[in-house]
Symmetry: C2
Subunit: 120 residues, 2 copies
Amino acid sequence: MQTEIPSGSSAFDPVGNFQWSPAEKKVARRAFDRALQAELQAVMVEAKRRAEKMRRPCEVWDLEQYLTKRRTQIDRQFDYRYSVLIMVFGILLRDGKLTEQDLDGMSEDKLASIRRFDET
Amino acid sequence: MQTEIPSGSSAFDPVGNFQWSPAEKKVARRAFDRALQAELQAVMVEAKRRAEKMRRPCEVWDLEQYLTKRRTQIDRQFDYRYSVLIMVFGILLRDGKLTEQDLDGMSEDKLASIRRFDET
């Protein structure tokens, strides 16, 4: 079934059956990796903070639970498949985990789709 | 099927269909909790050490894996059912995680069964 394009947004593709040029793939990979590294860095800092302030032995399982939860979230959020990448970037942009500068070099129609997630 | 009692060890029950007096249950619980707390304390110390020396963000998952592995081991090892407690204490004693003094107050036949694990 063909998805109907909303009137007034001729170039809008909500998730994207886009073609990615080699240059765009390079931009995408760099932006993705940068956001992922920043996310992992934040988990590491938080894990160090939690470990440092542990006092009672049973609290180690709270730390384990925190790490498992964050790993699951990150695995779900950082999905580098071109079929979902517009959505992934849209959510990362909305959540302030990457900037439009990080996406510099992508086509306008992709950027338009990515920005749409800011409105959701 | 009746398990054959080895000759020369008339009172030996390898795992134990023992009766536990209230006083023995108290000794058992205290010894068990002490060994468990020591084990958790060791995990906490090691988790703090690992967290402190993390440098690369991806290492947080090594910490998570370590904690999950230790939790699984501890869950399996520290099983407070009277049907398996002789074996549990036997292994803890063998591994130096509790001493005979911790078991002071238990009947001789139980202690004999517990000590047998030192020979396995």
